[in-house]
Structure formats: C-alpha cells, structure tokens
C-alpha cells in the first residue's frame, strides 16, 4: 500500500469545465455572426484542449489532484478529483472534440453554424468534462443533465420533422434514466448519508447491510447502463444518432455513451466492489455478452452507413463492459484501452461516413459504388478505420481487444471471450460490407464533390485514423498507461486516501479491499 496520502488541492481539475462554459457564454453573446462563431469557437476548443493537456501532464507527474468547490471540505462540498483514468478520457475527449469541431466548420450548413451550434458544442464538452472529473455522485447527475440537454438540442438542431421524432424518443428515454438516477442517489443518500464518491466507498466497505447495497448497486447499473447503451437499455441509440448532422453524431459517438461507461468504471471500481462475483463476474459479463452480440447483429443486417456505425457503438460498449466484468488488471486495462481507442476510431468512422455522404448525397449502401476509384484517399481512410474498429492488427483496436481476451482467458471466461471473438468477426464483416458496396464496384452514381473538393472533409477523419495507428504502433505506451490505471482502479484505497486522507483509506484496508 503506497501512495496513501491526501492529494494536493488545485484549481486545475475544474479548468476544462470552466473554459468550455466560459466560451459557451461568449459564443451565445455573439450568436448569428459566422466568423465570430468560428473564431471564438475554435479558440474555445483549443483553450479547453490546452487545459486538458495541462491537467493530464500534471496528474501524470504529481498524481491525483483535488479541487474543492467553494473550498468546502470533503465530504460536505463538491469535489473534482482528477486521476489517471479521468484525465486520460478528458484529454482524448478534448482531442476528439477539437477534430470534430474542425469537421463541423467544414461540413455543417451555415444556418446551423449561425444558430447555436457552437455554444451548444461547448456546453456539451463542458458537461462531459464535468461528468468525467466530478468526485460527487449528485454532481454527476447534474452534469448528466447538462450533457443530456445539450445533446438533445444539438440532435434536433434544424428542427426537421424526423429529427424531432427521434429526438423526442431520445429525450424521453433519457429523462426516464434521469429519474432512475435520482431514485438511486436518493436511496443511497438515505442509506449512507453522503454523496461524495470517496466517502461512499468508505461507507459501503464498512456497512452492515450488504444485500441492500447490492440492490442499490443494481439500480446504478440500470442508470449508467442506459447512458452507456448496454443491453437491454440501448434501444434509444442506434436510430437517433444518424438523424443528426455527421459532426454532431460523431461527437455523440465519441463522448456520450463513454460518459456512461466511465461512470460504470468509476463507481464499480471505487464504490460497489464488495460483491464482485455477483456484479462484475455475474451481471456485467452477461450484459456485456448480450450487448456485443445484439449490437453487432444490427450492422450485419443494416444497409445504412451511419446506422451501421451507430449500432457498433453498442457492440463496442460491450467490450468495455467485458473488461470491467472480468475485473482483473489486464482485462480492466483492455477496457480502458478500448474506451480510448473507440472514442477515436468511432468518431473517425462517423466523419468518414459524413464525408462520403457529402460526396454521394446518400448514406444508403446500395446507392453508392466505386468511390475507391474516384476518391482513393477517402476510401483508404475508411478501410483502415474499419479494420481498426474490427480489431485488426496493427491498429489500436487489435491491442485493446487482445488485452481483453488475454484478461478474459486468464480469468477463465472462455465463453465470453469466444463471444467477443465472434463479434469481432461480425464487426469486420459489416465493415467489409460497407467497403464492398461503397468503395469497390464500378465508379457510378452521384458525385457532388470531386476528390480534391472532398479532401478538407477527409483530413479530420484521417487525423483520427492517424491517432489510432499511433495508438497501435505505440501500443506499449497506451497499454502501460492503461495497465497502471487499472492497478490504481483496483486499489480504491488510493483514491479514498487522495480525497479523505489515509485514515479513511484504512477503513477500506480493514474491509479487505
């Protein structure tokens, strides 16, 4: 047991949220002016990215940081806690956000750009940053609401009839999820008398009524599972994302479900770890298997480019949950690796789909053909991104899945690993389906943009692909980081000590955690 000490106080953990909100306000004040929106919006995205980077390097150098809102001491006030897990996700969210922003500037119609797209974009980022960084369960709920509202307005931006139809389903189901969240927080607060995550960890570890706590834990599985879009709670996702313009769908793909899966990783490594054989080895692995399988059958059946990708968000979440389910350092590292990999490559694929749609005017596979000949760079970017998603070497997806498989086999989860392998095959199959229809075949069909005019739209996706390639060739760095993070997660006493001090952490040690 090393590093059992209080983390230094710092304002850094809240910086990404503050920067994003600040720029959102600036953007609202200057709405309607296109150049202002783009310039200030870009400045905001970059400023947030710089904040993310500073936070990331500082935590890497100095260990966890704690920010106390209003300087109220833990566990009474709201805390932001930056540790290895969430600063990584914050950084990747910042990078993916910046690249998506770049794509949005180039692809989104001017009416939407002029309206409130940019401020909403920043609020969305702020909400995600907040959800990643907060160390307070009720505050997490608040940031869930921020992301939900921002995403709902972004989803319906433009007010087309089909957008409103899907948006309504989206918001109603997510409101139900908020209601469950409130129920969960309420019964947890009543039972344990606190909402600070570290404090919750201490109290859960020392509480007598473990059966009841398990019930509360399962309520939170439903809450976060709805956000993460796992089985059997994912129905709202696959058809709603594709109705938004690509830049927005890409952003959602990168961030929203990841907030849910992050929350599961956070809460089920820190707070609810007393009955791992039931929650993790039992519930999560079963749900993960179903999520992978049902999520991948959609893409096999679908003939719409963006819907295939949206379904794959679900199937890939299954892999992440699988890593949490095995709850070994290697598997957990695989899960973390997979989250990061997926944030990057799934967004890249969405942007590729968007660029392709700009060229062909459709996202229906059967109405496209032969883009390899007319748009070779776009085709190459798709092909490699698709391989990465399917987990083919040497791209990042191979290494994250490899870690998941190794971890799974070590833990004796042969069936789950077998399922994950079959799902990898079907993922590849669906990517190849897109490739055969859209990029191979005779060069025919509509071409709204020639190859040269398309390249500004391809670069953002290519940049994301490059990151995926980098995370593949540099797999040892990413894996080592994820592995060290996994070890940290599996030792919740460290987090508790960082927030509440070594005495509180001793309670955990006493409880055998």
């Amino acid at each position: 047991m090393s590093n059992l000490q209080l983390a230094p106080l710092s304002n850094l953990p809240v910086l990404p949220v503050v920067v994003s909100l600040l720029f959102a306000v600036l953007l609202i004040l200057g709405h309607g002016r296109l150049r202002y929106q783009r310039a200030v919006g870009a400045a905001g995205v970059l400023a947030a990215l710089v904040a993310d980077l500073i936070l990331f390097t500082t935590v890497l150098r100095e260990g966890p940081l704690v920010y106390r809102a209003g300087d109220w001491p833990a566990p009474y006030g709201i805390l932001f806690v930056a540790d290895r897990l969430n600063v990584l996700l914050v950084l990747v969210a910042g990078v993916v956000g910046a690249i998506t922003f770049w794509f949005a500037v180039r692809s989104l119609d001017e009416a939407r750009q002029r309206a409130f797209f940019y401020p909403l974009f920043h609020v969305q980022l702020a909400g995600v940053y907040g959800a990643f960084l907060t160390g307070d369960l009720f505050n997490l709920f608040v940031f869930y609401e921020v992301t939900l509202l921002a995403s709902f307005v972004l989803l319906t931006l433009g007010g087309e009839r089909f957008q409103l139809q899907e948006g309504l389903k989206y918001v109603i189901i997510n409101t139900l999820s908020s209601a469950f969240f409130l129920v969960g927080v309420a019964i947890l607060y009543r039972t344990l008398g606190t909402v600070n995550m570290a404090d919750l960890a201490v109290k859960v570890a020392s509480a007598p009524d473990q059966g009841w706590l398990l019930v509360i834990a399962v309520v939170f599985v439903v809450v976060f599972g709805l956000k993460a879009a796992i089985f059997p709670l994912y129905f709202w996702l696959p058809y709603s994302y594709p109705t938004a313009p690509t830049a927005i769908a890409g952003l959602f793909a990168a961030l929203l479900s990841k907030v849910g899966i992050y929350s599961l990783f956070r809460v089920f490594t820190l707070i609810f770890v007393a009955q791992v054989s039931v929650t993790h080895h039992g519930l999560f692995l079963v749900l993960a298997s179903f999520t992978m399988v049902l999520g991948v059958l959609g893409p096999v059946a679908q003939m719409d480019f963006k819907r295939i990708l949206a379904f794959h968000i679900v199937s890939q979440i299954g892999y992440m949950l699988m890593g949490l389910g095995f709850y070994t350092p290697v598997a957990l590292a695989g899960g973390i690796y997979h989250i990061v990999h997926n944030m990057v490559i799934k967004t890249g694929l969405f942007l590729t789909a968007g660029a392709t749609e700009e060229v062909t005017g459709t996202s229906h596979l059967e109405r496209m053909s032969g883009l390899l000949r007319s748009h070779p760079v776009l085709a190459a970017v798709f092909f490699m991104s698709g391989l990465s998603l399917a987990g083919m070497p040497p791209f990042s997806g191979f290494f994250s899945k490899l870690a998941l498989m190794v971890g799974g086999l070590q833990a004796g989860g042969y069936l789950v690993v077998a399922i994950s392998v079959a799902v990898s095959f079907l993922t590849l199959f669906s990517m190849i389906k897109i490739w055969r229809y859209v990029y191979w075949g005779p060069d025919r069909g509509e071409r709204r943009l020639d190859a040269r005019a398309t390249s500004p739209l391809v670069w953002p996706a290519a940049a994301l692909l490059l990151i995926s390639v980098g995370m593949g060739l540099g797999a040892s760095f990413v894996f080592d980081y994820s592995y060290a993070t996994a070890l940290e997660l599996m030792d919740p006493a460290r987090y508790v000590a960082a927030v509440l001090g070594p005495q509180a952490a001793a309670v955990l040690a006493h409880a055998g955690l």
Partner: protein, 782 residues
C-alpha cells in the same frame, strides 16, 4: 538487420501509396528492387546462418505475451527466399501483364504490403507477432483478389477468402492465447522446451484444434478449400504468388513450425495427416473436372497443399525434409504454370480448355515451359517434382508400416491422388498446346514478349535444374529447413534412382495409370461428376452467409421497432427484472416494521388525490383535462411539502406547477388531438403489469431506503455551518448557492440550454411558416 529487411517492403509501400500514381506502368519495375535486394541478402545468408538462426529481439508488452522478436532459421529462410524471389519475378511479370491504363500503383502497393506481411509471418519468433502479420496477409490477399473490383465475381471471391481465412485466424488467435496461458510464453523456441508440459495440459486438445483451424483455412484444406478457387478472380500473377507459391503455404509453415511444440501425438498427427490426404484426393479429382485452366490449377494447388500437409503431419525427420523439399518444388513449378496460363489467357483471351488447343506452333516457349512444369507436377523422373514426391511416398510407406492391416491406406490414397494429378497435368500441356490449332480463341494466338516469358522461364529452369541435380538445393536449403523443424540435424537422401522399391512402384503406378487412363479421361471425368457430392462445402458457406444475414435481420427488426412505447417497455422490464431479481436474491421484499411508519390522515388524503389524478390522466381522452389534472397532482405534492413543514420546497414546487400548467394551457391550442391507437389486449395487460410493477418497485425502494439509515447524514454539517460559515439562516439557500453552488451552476446551464432549444424550435417554426406562406403567395401570383 532482420527488422530492416522486414520494414523495407512497408516503407516502399508507403512511398508507393504517396507517390506511386505518378510512376505509371513502370512502377513495378522500379519496385522490384525491394524484393530483389531482400532476395540478395537472403541468398547471402544461405549456409551462413548461425546455429539456432539469426535472432533479433526486443521487449514489447509483457503482460500480453507480446515481444518483438524475430528469427531467421532454415525453415524461415526457405520461405523467405520463395517470398522474395518469386515476388521479384511476379512484379516483373505483372508490369507487362497489366494493361497500361490499369491502376499499377494500387497493385504494387498491395503486393508490397503482402510481401512485407508474409516476410513478417516467417520471421516472427513470437507467435502473436506471427498472428499480426498473418492477418495482414489475409487483408492484402483480400485487396488483391478484389483488384478488379468492378466485377461482382471478384468482390464475392475476395469476401469468401476473407471470411474463411479470418474466421480461421481468429480461432488460431484464441488457440495461441490458450497456448500462452498453458506455457507462459509465446516464443517458439521457449515453447519447444516446454512441449511435454503443454501436451499434458488440459487445454492441449483445444490448442491443437484452434491452431489447426487457422492453418487449415489459410492453406485451403478440406473443407475450407472453397475459397481458393474463388480467389482465382485475382490477376494471374497474384494467383501465382499468393494463392499458390506463398500465402497459402503459411498454414504449412505454421504446422511445420509448431510440430516440435505440439506434434508427436495422435491428437496432432491424425487430423493433419487425414485432412492432408483427404485434401489431396479431393483436390486432385476436382482439378480433373475443371475446364478453366486457372480453376484447374487452383484445385491442383489445393491437392498439393494437402500432400505437403500430410507429410508435415507425419512429423518424422524424413517426412519433414520431404515436405520442405516438395514445398519448394511446388512453389517453383506451380508458379511457372500459373504464369504460363496467364500468358495463354493474355495472348488468346481465354483460359477455357474447350476453346484452346494446338498452340504449340504459335507459342513454342510457353508450350515448353508449361510442358516441363506440368511434367514436374505429374512426378515424371528427371524433374524436381518426381524426387520430392518419392521422398514423401517413402515417409508414407514408413508410417503405413506401423498401421498393421491398414498399411496400404496412406500410400494407397496418395497413389490414387497422384494418378489423378498426373492425369490433369497431362491435360495441361496436351490439350492446350498439342494437336491442331483450332482457331476458336477470342484472339489469334501469338507468343508473348520475352519480358513476359522471363519469369515463368526462370521458374521452369529451377524445376528442371533441381530435377537433374537435387543437391543444388538439398544441402544448402532443404536440410537446414527440415533440421529447424525437427530440432536435430536432418539430411534427406534425394536421388534420381533409389532402386525398385515401394515409393518407386507408387510413382510408376501413378504415371502408368495416368497414361493408361488418359484416353478415357472424359469418361472418367463424367464418372467423377456422378460420384461426388458436389459443392457441399460451398453450400455450407452460402447457407452460413444467408443464415447469418437472415438471423441478424430478424433479430434486429424484432426488437428495434422504432416505437417509443416498445423501448420504454423493454427498459422498464429490464429495471424490474434486474432490480427485482436482486431483491429476491437478497432477502426478498419483506419490509421490517421500522420501515413502515403509520401515515397520517392528511397524508392519506393527499396520496389518494395524487393516485386518482394520475389514473385520470392516463385514462382521459381530453388533453385539456389531462393538463389540469396534472396540475392537481402537482399541487397535492405542494400540500405534502407544506404538511411536512418544508416551505422552500413547497414554494418552489408551487411556482413550477403553476407556470407549467399555464404554459401548457397556452400551448394547448397548438397541440394535435390526442389519438389512441388500438393496442392488442395482451399487450395492454403487459403494459399495465409492467407499469404497476415498476411503480411498485420504486415505491418499495423508497420505503426500504427510508428505514435503512446506516450512517449519520452529512446534512448535520450544513445545519451547523450554514450561518457561521455560509452566512445565511436559510439552510436550503446556503446549500444551493454555496455548499453545493456547482450543482446550481450546472442546473442554470441546463435551463439556459433548454431556453435556447425552445427559442430555436420556435424560430425554425416561424421561419417555416413564413416560407410556406411566401411559397403560397408565389403560387397564387402565378
């Protein structure tokens, strides 16, 4: 040096991807410098390898068993020479084979990628690294088969090859990971030291099965062979290179490589030998049935791969040497055959045996190369195929001698298959080149340019030279390869004449039988047609694809209905089942006395009002009534707050309820009429049950939580510090603006965003109305 050699093709591929399109059709002749240089380096290593091979190693990700380690030993060197050597010839050939307006840069790019990947497979010392390159060969093969992707058949062939080899690849990956789990390493060398430990491990049968699945799919063994004939849609140089000389031999490479680790047991030997010989037999008689020259060669390749596989499976030093030798010979003569068929196709416009004939006069060089290579394939003495085939026969006879009454089985099957092989080999040159010119080809036949003839010529020359003087390669190449596999020095006895023994009799039987049957080959073919259950593997593949698509479609359509009511129902069911199930498993729903406080009359009355109001909202058909009743429910909650002496909450709720009701009423004019769609009675009952159960669930959770206060709540701190530290007497206010001010910031953001959303929706509605009005006016104006 190994990493440099390995990266060279990839660097070259990168350059080709960036600048290749500028070079036009000359690209291939520039790019062949890469394999040529590698070939030269490899040749320099022949006879100069240190014992144990040339090793380069670097750590990578220890926890996953990954290490960047490579080794060049005899077995790898044999393959690497074929990859680089035939790669050079094929690049040269394709520069003239592809038309000037074809996309040379993509072709060369894919070919270089393949070359690098294949070298990676044979250089890798860590099996996971081998796997990574293995999958890359599948991908580059996919791209090359689909090179002419405008054609439906190319796309289908590419898909089939990918599906089958990738499924095998994934199986193999799992097998490798199990291997790693049972031995603690994935280094081939270290694994070999732990062979007995691995073979005693309970995973052993799984490891063998899964790894062989990878090897068999890659090397087109029955029943996975069906992808190889379809892969013939690729340009012929690709078929010669990937689908005959190198990639399809990766499975053989792996089986050979692992024979020290996994071999020597019945679980390994039987499947490999049986599948190998079966593949040989199926391949040879199916080849005989083909009328398309490339299809014939494809099945011939299947058959020969099976032959070598069986020899590897036997695993004796002699058999391994024979396998290595035959593998080398097959790569050369089969490469030559493919390239000549490519020339015939190129010059005459057809590969159909029915249209070809008597080309000898017009194409003398092609005829000579085809004849010599085909005779080598048939196993005619003085050519390379004869010698290596004899050696495998020898091993089969030896193995058979251990099988008692079944001693004849292995040699017998091999002899029959060899007879059929000889038969179709004769067809290859006799039907195409002999006899009268028939003039039925799309283009009049003429000899190809010397440039195009160079590659098959060189390969044929190798077959002839090795046939005349096997010692040219056996001592320097084949023996080291076999020694690397056997883990002990192996010396094969390649000679033109061993005397009249069993192997010689087998060869003689095959050749004489083939000559005897040759005039009756058409009848034999007809007989085979009737005998065989055709395309069962092919049907299975199609059924698999169709079944998969159908299943995916049905499952998806069934639950992704697009209806909100369905989704909500599923989610609530999930909630009830998951949470309810956990409750049942942890003590059940029984509430303890302290959970239940007796409610006051006021509370009961308000509760009744709320329940009645909610029921009414659900039942009513009038939107107006629903809004007002919702208000009633809300005000009842306000009264509850008042009753519980929480004035802040009561006031807030009062404002919220009032504003909501007023706004809803104002907006009511614009609401569509509430319509009820008829719902099936069963579904109604389900809805009702789920609604009641989830409501009950939440109620139970609240009551249970209320009675389970395990710790002192933090609210005491707020009560104590609200005034001294927060400076306010109203605790709720201090909590909102100070203690938990960040929450409030978030909620303010939420409200602002909601306001923005409403503003934009209204705005877009106004714009739409204006636009429509303008359009109407325009319409009237006209």
């Amino acid at each position: 040096m190994l990493p440099t050699v390995l990266t060279l093709p990839f660097v070259a591929a990168g350059l080709v991807a960036l600048f290749g399109h500028r070079a036009g059709s000359k690209l291939a002749s520039v790019a062949l410098a890469v394999p040529l240089a590698i070939f030269a380096w490899l040749v320099a290593q022949v006879g100069a390898l240190p014992p144990g091979g040339l090793v380069w190693s670097h750590g990578w990700i220890e926890e996953l068993g990954l290490a960047l380690s490579f080794r060049l030993d005899g077995w790898s060197l044999l393959f690497a020479l074929l990859i680089a050597g035939i790669g050079t010839l094929v690049l040269w050939y394709s520069r003239f084979y592809l038309g000037p307006d074809e996309d040379h840069s993509k072709f060369v790019l894919y070919l270089l990628l393949f070359m690098g990947s294949m070298l990676g497979v044979v250089f890798a010392e860590n099996l996971l690294v081998l796997y990574m390159f293995w999958e890359l060969t599948s991908i580059s093969s996919f791209l090359l088969i689909g090179y002419w992707h405008e054609r439906e058949a190319s796309r289908e062939g590419a898909l089939k090859a990918l599906v089958i080899t990738v499924i095998g690849g994934f199986a193999m990956l799992v097998g490798l990971l199990l291997l790693s789990l049972s031995a603690g390493t994935l280094s081939v060398r270290e694994l070999a030291l732990k062979a007995s430990e691995i073979q005693a491990h309970p995973f052993y049968p799984w490891i063998v099965g899964l790894i062989l699945a990878g090897a068999f799919t890659k090397s087109a063994q029955v029943p996975f062979h069906i992808w190889l004939p379809s892969a013939m849609e690729a340009p012929t140089p690709v078929s010669a290179y990937l689908h005959s000389a190198t990639m399809v031999k990766a499975g053989l490479y792996l089986v050979g490589r692992l024979s020290l680790v996994l071999g020597g047991t019945a679980a390994w030997t039987y499947p490999v030998v049986v599948v190998g010989l079966l593949t040989m037999l199926v391949g040879s008689y199916t080849a005989l049935r083909q009328r398309d020259l490339k299809a014939l060669l494809a099945y011939s390749t299947v058959s020969q791969l099976g032959f070598i596989m069986a020899a590897l499976g036997l695993g004796t030093p002699g058999a391994l040497g024979a396998a290595a030798f035959h593998l080398f010979n097959h790569a050369t003569f089969k490469g030559a055959l493919f390239l000549v068929v490519g020339i015939v196709d190129h010059e005459t416009g057809t590969r159909d045996l029915a249209k070809l004939g008597g080309l000898r006069r017009a194409m003398p060089w092609s005829a000579a190369f085809m004849t010599l290579s085909a005779l080598s394939l048939a196993g005619v003495p003085l050519l390379s195929g004869f010698i290596s085939k004899e050696l495998i026969f020898t091993s089969l006879v030896e193995a058979g001698s251990l099988m008692g009454g079944l001693a004849w089985l292995l040699p017998g099957v091999a002899t029959v298959a060899s007879l059929l092989t000889a038969l179709y080999s004769f067809v290859l040159f006799h039907e195409v080149f002999d006899g009268q010119a028939r003039g039925t080809t799309p283009r009049p036949a003429r000899e190809a340019s010397p440039a195009l003839l160079l590659s098959p010529g060189l390969l044929t020359a190798v077959a002839v030279l090795v046939g005349l003087g096997p010692h040219l390669v056996t001592g320097s190449l084949i023996d080291p390869a076999a020694s690397a596999l056997a883990g002990q020095p192996v010396e094969i006895h390649a000679a033109l004449w061993h005397g009249v023994n069993a192997p010689f009799l087998m060869s003689a039987t095959a050749l004489v039988g083939a000559l005897a049957f040759y005039p009756a080959r058409h009848r034999l073919r007809a007989l085979l047609e009737r005998l065989t259950t055709r395309w069962t593997a092919e049907r299975a593949y199609q059924a698999f694809l169709n079944g998969l698509m159908g299943l995916a479609q049905r499952v998806t359509d069934r639950h992704m209905t697009g209806r909100l009511a369905d989704y909500l129902l599923y989610i609530l069911i999930a909630f009830v089942v998951l949470v309810g199930g956990t409750v049942l498993a942890n003590g059940g729903f029984a509430l303890r006395p302290l959970d239940l406080a007796s409610p006051t009359v006021v509370e009961l009355v308000l509760l009744a009002a709320m329940v009645a109001g909610t029921l009414f909202v659900v039942r009513t058909r009038s939107g107006l009534a629903a809004i007002i009743t919702l208000g009633v429910v809300g005000y009842s909650v306000v009264l509850l707050w008042v009753h519980w002496q929480a004035p802040d909450l009561a006031l807030t709720q009062l404002v919220v309820e009032s504003v909501s009701v007023v706004l809803l009423l104002l907006a009511f004019v614009h609401f569509p009429k509430l319509e009820r769609k008829p719902v099936a009675a069963g579904r109604r009952r389900l809805n009702l049950a789920v609604a009641v159960l989830s409501g009950a669930m939440v109620s139970w959770l609240s009551i249970r939580a209320n009675g389970t206060q395990l710790f002192e709540p933090i609210s005491q701190y707020f009560i104590e510090n609200s005034l001294p530290l927060g400076g306010g007497r109203n605790i709720v206010n201090v909590i909102l603006v100070d203690f938990r001010g960040l929450d409030t910031l978030g909620e303010i953001t939420v409200l602002s965003i909601a306001a923005l959303g409403v503003y934009m929706l209204v705005g877009s509605r106004i714009r739409r109305t204006r636009r429509e009005a303008a359009e109407r006016q325009e319409g009237e104006g006209l």
